[in-house]
Symmetry: C2
Amino acid sequence: MSTTSTRSDSIYASLRRAILEQALKPGTKLPEDSIGETFGVSRTSARNALVRLETDGLVEMRPNRGAAVAMPEFNEAEDVFALRRCLEREVIERLCRRMSNDSIDALRSHVREEERALRASSPRSIRLAGEFHILLAELTGSAELTGFVSRIVSRASLILARFGRPHSAECGIDEHLRLIDALAAQDAAAALAIMDAHLHAVEDRANSDDTGKDTDVASILGRYLNDPDQLR
Amino acid sequence: MSTTSTRSDSIYASLRRAILEQALKPGTKLPEDSIGETFGVSRTSARNALVRLETDGLVEMRPNRGAAVAMPEFNEAEDVFALRRCLEREVIERLCRRMSNDSIDALRSHVREEERALRASSPRSIRLAGEFHILLAELTGSAELTGFVSRIVSRASLILARFGRPHSAECGIDEHLRLIDALAAQDAAAALAIMDAHLHAVEDRANSDDTGKDTDVASILGRYLNDPDQLR
DNA sequence: GTTTTCCACATTGCATACAATTTTTAATAT
DNA sequence: ATATTAAAAATTGTATGCAATGTGGAAAAC
């Protein structure tokens, strides 16, 4: 395996984690200088990472005006979650056709990590909740589908970060467990129903206030210099 | 309107067109120097464009080894087209819920351009055939869905460029027209059936090289039965 | 004749410099 | 005070240079 990690790779990964864990909130400006300085690299590498984050829908770049954590509009919520349901239905259908024991184990293992992070009140739990869905997509073996799910989950996370209440009962670990059970039993109908309910529940969390305050990027990013677990 | 087009924007657009019109074939190396030279800009701008094309799935970049037009594997074909059907079904369903006259006009106008390009034997016809589907997605008003469709259509185009015969009967303009009629009549069942058949027909162009393989006539013909109940 | 080694060349990763653009600040006029 | 304008500072867009990595081919060894 080519473990050649370029500098912009690690910046990309760190920024991504920081955004998905809501350390960097929607709207936060991301000047190339500050980012490069925090990570000890030049603007060139920072910019490269930002461009990639933009195509992920996590960052918005406006010409000559710089980058900022993306701020999805509230009216995108319905659209994004509808599309998410569409894609994740496809995931469930494919998984029910062939589900290995290893896959079940991987899913259960992931949920255990979610529980651990939640008990520790770690911001990791927010990200892990989303990555559970990405793991599901990965288990289909389809790189394309995984990419799409990854993007739509990111986008949904941003919407929650902006409009949801501060991760109250974040994620519904219980629903994740029930979904795994249904998949293990190859019960497609049940799995689809659980997923649908789960996603509606998540969507409903997008309700309340919009806290838009300017924050200091450098101080936050210090905690995300290296990434403890791999990105999906 | 902000018509601020940066240099890497135009390089991005040009390269994208060239790839989708099969002027640049899968596997073609894309050295930053050559690209910069061709467009009269520096490597910096060329690289920026390449990074974006990579996230589009049109270009593959390997660290220290440079970029090349992406070469999807043959076994991706089934996966890509399955996903494409999934997404475009969503498009059709959304369009049938509300279809304006302007939309119909835009679609018909696009098809007229397709016909013009096809008569002129222009390579534009290849790209326009794909962009018809992107236009459909755009008309749903969902930026997310449009982005996904755009990407999956690009990927499918690459597969055809690599494994299909040299755009024989490229695109099925007739099917595009019939689809528009069904949409105009808000006949969801018919529209879905036509789209499904259309996409299978496109996919079959990639399979056609495997001469001896098990060509199951029944399974192919089955798709042309117009059975709306089987659609989901 | 085939394989291996090594070196020149090509290409990328990254940093830095400078020009162009935007944002902020200060000064002036109303 | 408020609004307007202009200069200063900050930030991005782009070009270029250098070090690091990868590639291809000639020479040497087998």
